[in-house]
């Protein structure tokens, strides 16, 4: 009896261990609870020399492989106003003053979302019980049950929020401008709280860019 209990205990322990030993991945909620924030800057730019900037108030750009839309606007979405407000607050805190585009700003701010829409399909072969399986459990015409395979279609969006700061003061003769600072925040589609995480990400982009500012 004791041996049987030991065997049973060992079998349960091994089963639990083997279950844990399957190829695990991080918890998705933990993965997407904050955005990846990447920033780059032009080392030749003198950020203390700029004074003013221009930025839209309720519209951000949109690039997608699934939509012909080129902008996201308020009030269709609360996202643009929220994002633009967070950027403005950070630029003001660094000593820059917002002006209209026709007031010859030193800096221009482009904000856009680049969306990548992905689709993939898989063929599901139901088993004897009608549940999905990876094989045929019966052969048609030989007295066993047969369920026609069906196709599952999955689609998901990924997207990056891009903020670009352009040097409008030093435009070239043919009216070209340099990007002196940019920030990439992702993913903006897979989030727990998109607005809060976007605002946190924008704050972080400025925090990790201490060279930005009048001082």
């Amino acid at each position: 009896m004791i041996m049987r209990r030991i065997c049973y205990l060992c079998a349960v322990t091994i089963s639990a261990g083997l279950f844990l030993a399957c190829q695990t991945e991080p918890d998705s909620a933990e993965l997407i609870d904050q955005m990846v924030v990447s920033t780059n800057y032009d080392p030749e730019a003198d950020f203390t020399a700029y004074t003013t900037y221009a930025i839209p108030s309720d519209t951000i750009g949109f690039r997608s492989n699934n939509s012909s839309d080129t902008i996201i606007t308020s009030p269709e979405s609360t996202f643009p106003r929220h994002v633009l407000s967070a950027i403005r607050n950070n630029l003001e805190a660094r000593g820059y003053t917002r002006v209209d585009r026709n007031q010859d700003p030193d800096l221009g701010v482009n904000v856009m979302v680049v969306n990548d829409f992905n689709v993939f399909q898989e063929i599901v072969y139901p088993n004897y019980y009608g549940y999905p399986g990876n094989y045929y459990s019966g052969y048609y015409g030989y007295g066993s049950y047969y369920y026609y395979p069906y196709v599952n279609t999955y689609a998901y969006n990924t997207g990056v929020l891009i903020i670009e700061v352009l040097d409008l003061r030093n435009r070239t003769a043919d009216n070209k401008v340099r990007v002196v600072w940019d920030a990439y925040l992702g993913d903006v589609y897979s989030t727990i709280d998109r607005l809060a995480q976007s605002a946190d990400g924008i704050d972080q982009a400025f925090t990790q860019s201490p060279y930005l500012g009048k001082q």
Binding site: L18, L20, S38, P43
Partner: protein, 202 residues
């Protein structure tokens, strides 16, 4: 699916091998990474080993061992600077490791001993590691192969003199030439302790 397959192999083999001089085992494996611990140093409890060993001499066996292990470690949010910028995120470091070795064991036992079998052995084979760095929806991966050497000491203990089932426990050290340039592994090594069920017949 793999766990049920392995369990089925173990149960079927234990019946088929009855009366022959061989044993099979299915063990849980606990591993402590010993190389590049800056990337992963946490102990892994998510691993297993399955093996078949036949006695070719009264005190010597040879066989095949396969193993699998998942290593992981969380890196809290940090900002990494580069010459023209910075990146901030948290990271999940993972290694998915699979191994197969041909092994030989020497048993320190008397001829009339049939329940307790301490042994020392060596396994030689190969392993493949998949190194994965997860961050948000993104991931960087690298897979590589390496030669694997596995010295091992352990003990087999049969529950009863007549029964085939017993316990196996062993300590092993894995050294592999498995490299990852992306994640700074010049080799891969781990110290492990395994324990589980074995089925033996003499």
């Amino acid at each position: 699916m793999i766990r049920y397959t392995l369990l089925l192999i173990f149960l079927c083999s234990s019946a088929l091998l009855r009366g022959q001089e061989k044993y099979i085992y299915l063990n849980l494996d606990v591993n402590k990474p010993m190389s590049n611990t800056a990337w992963i140093e946490d102990i892994s409890f998510s691993a297993g080993k399955l093996g078949y060993r036949g006695f070719i001499r009264p005190n010597f066996s040879a066989g095949l061992d396969v193993g699998w292990a998942n290593f992981d470690q969380y890196e809290p949010t940090s900002t990494k600077q580069n010459p023209t910028g910075a990146i901030t995120t948290d990271y999940f470091h993972y290694i998915y490791s699979y191994s197969a070795v041909v092994s030989g064991q020497y048993y320190f036992k008397d001829e009339d001993e049939d329940r307790f079998f301490p042994y020392a052995g060596m396994g030689l084979g190969a392993n493949t590691n998949e190194y994965v760095l997860y961050y948000n929806i993104y991931e960087d991966t690298e897979r590589s192969w390496g030669f694997l050497a596995r010295p091992e000491v352990g003990v087999l203990f049969r529950f009863t003199e007549r029964g085939s089932l017993g316990i196996m426990a062993a300590v092993h050290y894995d050294y592999s030439t498995n490299k990852s340039e992306k994640f700074a592994y010049s080799n891969f090594s781990a110290l492990g302790f395994q324990i589980g069920l074995m089925s033996m017949s003499f």
